[in-house]
């Protein structure tokens, strides 16, 4: 874990309010595991940052050859808006690598379930797994077509992508959980890896429980520090409160207490 600055080397605008920021840092590029995240300053003015707190972002993809990694950012508030305006060459303060990571059971088919910007940790998962063989499936839901991003990149890796939109503007009309139910009908020896908004994760966990399928979820919550010192990122599990930045962000989906785990 380091507190360091990484240089912004590429800025890629995607659909809607999403974009990819590529940073140069060979160490992160070499070491990041799928699901791990970084705390990133939302203002490069280190003297008097505003907003003050760093923001958590999953490592999206890595290029060990180029010594760079990327993050996927969706603009939703002040911090992400400012990040969308970072200039090329900016040296952005950050802390990482942080958190645990998805652990895939090689004996089971892996299905990734992503809601909106919850797609973020799965590209790296696909990058890592695709070499290990085995077909990979991504179920990807969003409100509308413009919220679906980087699907081609997944397809280029050889991942099968099934998409849904609530407004029907792309893929199946409906929710990503509908896709999951359909999928599970004839694939019982699976494991689910999910990331997205709380209510989606809760729905996924209900379905997984019904089908008795293992589930790992990457949870979202406010994070004050990202490295286990503010005690602010507690989520409730059947084993009690757990700091999401330390014991997570990936949790056993069957042990989450969704009602009492806060919301962002």
């Amino acid at each position: 874990m380091r507190y360091f600055t990484a240089r912004l080397v590429r800025h890629q605008r995607l659909n809607g309010d999403n974009f990819l920021l590529h940073f140069a840092d060979p160490q992160i590029a070499a070491q990041a595991l799928p699901g791990q995240f970084l705390m990133i300053a939302a203002d490069v003015d280190a003297l008097s940052p505003y907003p003050i707190l760093m923001r958590p972002f999953s490592v999206f993809g890595v290029s060990p050859q180029e010594g760079s990694f990327s993050i996927l950012v969706k603009v939703i508030g002040l911090g992400t808006r400012q990040m969308s305006q970072f200039g090329l060459g900016a040296d952005v303060p950050m802390i990482g690598l942080l958190g645990n990571h998805f652990e895939v059971d090689a004996q089971k088919a892996a299905v990734m379930v992503a809601g909106g910007v919850g797609i973020a940790p799965f590209y790296l998962l696909a990058q890592k797994l695709i070499h290990g063989g085995g077909p990979l499936l991504l179920l990807y839901g969003a409100r509308s077509r413009s919220d679906l991003v980087t699907m081609e990149a997944f397809e280029e890796l050889g991942v099968e992508v099934r998409a849904s939109t609530e407004d029907g503007s792309f893929g199946t009309k409906g929710r990503v959980t509908d896709l999951l139910v359909t999928y599970l009908k004839d694939s019982s020896n699976s494991q689910i890896l999910a990331c997205g908004p709380g209510p989606m994760l809760e729905a996924v966990s209900r379905i997984a429980r019904q089908h008795r399928v293992p589930l790992q979820v990457s949870v979202e919550c406010f994070m004050g520090c990202g490295f286990g010192v503010c005690f602010g990122c507690a989520v409730e599990t059947t084993e009690g409160y757990r700091l999401a930045c330390q014991y997570g962000p990936v949790f056993d989906g069957h042990k989450m207490k969704w009602d009492t785990s806060g919301h962002v």
Binding site: Y3, P51, C221, F222, V229, G232, C233, E236, H263
Partner: protein, 309 residues
């Protein structure tokens, strides 16, 4: 040359830049970022007799130049602290101060007594000001008489230097500080967080599970500085200044206001090397201004103008 060393209650601190309770965990967490030897003292997360799990989520939220927290004093408990956390900190020259709290006067006394027997540290810091917990930490610190009572009781059983951490949520902080001094405190530290809240307008409910939480960060610095200035003129014991310090310039303001040491809180979260940067900047400033030591810095304000508020 500026000499950053200070002494409080017979304990030597290599410098007056400390880290605040609840924002530096148990210290070791910052080893990846910082040589802990550079810090004057680490004030560890508030300790109680038993471990505590803390409050339900959401526990934190960001506000303009500040943050709300309602951690609920999650901590490992006094025994685990002494067994598991303290030994690691003792590898450093840095002094350790244990922030403590209780539900009742007796609990405060019990934690202080336990630490006096089992912990070789530079002091205990009585948190009589935490606004988060049901059990009423707020009560002690918002009334001079209750403050005097709890501090006196703790003082009797506490053989370590005794710091009392004051609440800013009071009409007049000076009588509380004086009560601490009268009851035998070795120093006062201030301020703790200001009681505050935020509402999620989409969900239409308070953001924090406890409705209210404590406001910290640069937003509160002007309030903290005012209170330090007042208290430093009201008591003779050392004053440790806290509240929104995120740059060396902020720290200098607190020393000029009369602080003998300062603590950095929230800024540790987003600039984990901030303590070192503040120390370096402070030393530079004092050398530029030819100020020899912290005592001289505290006296370096120009003659006081009329106080008119």
């Amino acid at each position: 040359m500026f000499d950053p060393r200070i002494q409080i209650a017979g304990k030597n601190f290599q410098n007056p830049v400390w880290t605040a309770s609840g924002t530096f965990a148990y210290g070791a967490e910052f080893e990846p970022f910082l040589d802990l030897n550079e810090i004057g003292a680490v004030v560890v997360k508030g300790l109680s007799i038993q471990p505590r799990a803390g409050n339900a989520p959401n526990r934190i939220y960001e506000t303009p130049s500040g943050m709300l927290n309602s951690i609920g004093l999650q901590n490992v408990g006094m025994e685990n602290f002494v067994k598991e956390k303290l030994p690691r900190l003792k590898h450093y020259r840095t002094q350790v101060i244990a922030n403590i709290f209780g539900k009742t006067e007796e609990e405060y006394v019990q934690v202080a007594a336990y630490l006096s027997d089992h912990a070789d540290i530079a002091g205990v810091e009585l948190n009589i000001s935490c606004p988060n917990v049901k059990e009423g930490g707020i009560e002690f610190g918002s009334n001079p008489e209750l403050t005097r009572r709890v501090v006196s009781s703790v003082r009797k059983k506490c053989r370590l230097p005794l710091y009392v951490k004051l609440s800013p949520n009071v009409t007049d902080i000076c009588p509380i500080a004086i009560a601490c001094q009268d009851a035998g405190a070795d120093a006062v530290t201030l301020i703790n967080t200001l009681v505050a809240m935020a509402i999620d307008i989409e969900r239409r409910e308070p953001v924090l599970s406890t409705i209210f939480g404590g406001l910290s960060g640069p937003a509160i610095k002007p309030i903290a500085l005012r209170m330090v200035y007042q208290v430093a003129r009201a008591v003779k014991i050392p004053v440790v200044g806290i509240g929104g310090i995120s740059r060396w310039q902020d720290a200098v303001e607190f020393f000029l206001a009369g602080a003998t040491a300062i603590q950095i809180g929230t800024a540790n979260f987003y600039k984990p090397t901030v303590a070192k940067e503040v120390l370096d900047g402070l030393v530079c400033y004092c050398e530029r201004k030819k100020i020899p030591d912290v005592a001289a810095l505290r006296e370096a304000m120009k003659s006081e103008k009329a106080q008119t508020c």
